[in-house]
Symmetry: C2
Subunit: 200 residues, 2 copies
């Protein structure tokens, strides 16, 4: 558990991963990612943490609330980690690499399954919850856009900012389907290759 995470837990902004609720959320993220939200039953969720299905509703008021909570906390964690990573970067190129590395890490380390759920299962939320999640991501996205804008001013980037960001979102997000961190190529190498899409 890194420093950022510890801070978020002790300030009450996210659930302690050690707690019953936290373990349930990790199990839920795993099942939602591998089976999909709709195909995961509350009975499976209960069984995954060793309780009856009905007992889930002591912790969450509905199955959808579990999904929402998983998404919510993942965003909070990764925004915090992104801010932290940007602190140690100076030039636009360094910042861009930091953002890319951060986003790749969010997909391929501890929050990986939750991030997959965020990308693949947002339609399972009711419309108001979808808006709420989108709003949470806004802070995240504005960090990206301002960094890209800086890169354009430095002559590093030719693309339109919005378009480039969205193309990169897709490129990075898709790695969840094919990249394995324990394979031939390291996360940092993958980040370098991804950066080369934006600059040359």
């Amino acid at each position: 558990m890194d420093a950022v995470l510890t801070e978020l837990v002790s300030s009450g902004k996210i659930t302690d991963p050690q707690s019953a609720k936290g373990r349930l959320m990790r199990a839920a993220a795993h099942l939602f990612k591998t089976k999909g939200y709709e195909r995961t039953t509350v009975r499976e969720l209960g069984a995954a943490v060793g309780i009856q299905s009905g007992s889930l509703f002591h912790h969450f008021k509905s199955k959808e609330a579990i999904l929402l909570c998983v998404m919510e906390e993942t965003i909070v964690i990764n925004i915090a980690r992104m801010h932290e990573a940007l602190k140690q970067a100076n030039s636009a190129e360094e910042k861009l690499l930091a953002l890319i590395t951060c986003e790749l890490a969010s997909i391929h380390t501890d929050t990986g399954e939750a991030m997959g759920v965020l990308v693949y299962e947002w339609r399972s939320l009711g419309q108001d919850k979808q808006k709420y999640i989108l709003q949470l991501r806004d802070e995240y996205e504005s960090l990206w856009l301002s960094t890209i804008e800086q890169g354009k001013q430095e002559g590093l980037i030719q693309h339109d900012g919005f378009i480039l960001r969205r193309l990169l979102t897709g490129a990075i997000g898709w790695t969840t389907t094919w990249y394995r961190p324990d394979g031939d190529i390291s996360l940092d190498e993958l980040a370098e290759q991804t950066l080369k899409l934006a600059i040359k």
Copy 2:
């Protein structure tokens, strides 16, 4: 209906879009894309084409069979269109642009909804069907890889071929969530911008 599509229909390789089955498949693609496969009921599918839910099973033996058929035919159509587009391209750069344009078109024209289903709903298929679909896409992918390889030999591309293809797959596929062909930027312009990810 373009020439490629007409040929595929008359040779029996894909269902006539005018037929009852064809109309059902289009409606299914639409519902699966907007609501997701699991959240779409057979009653909705029936209602969408004006028949009872039970009558669906006269055309397909199961709901999953509808999903499979939608995916299958979309792949067949787009492989054919890709071959056609490559015929008119010579240099590696032209070929690459043709492939990108083709893939973008597959997502944003008539097969768009079915392509979205292909990307978002493959987990809803049983394992054997998943393998079958993956196998169908192999021909498609090998066209991409050989073109990228040609680009590398011409010094046009620096990236590793496999990695570049997968990054591009993600970048292009993700456009389904944000790009609208009737918006500010044309499909061809988007293709150009996408090409600039790979070459500079």
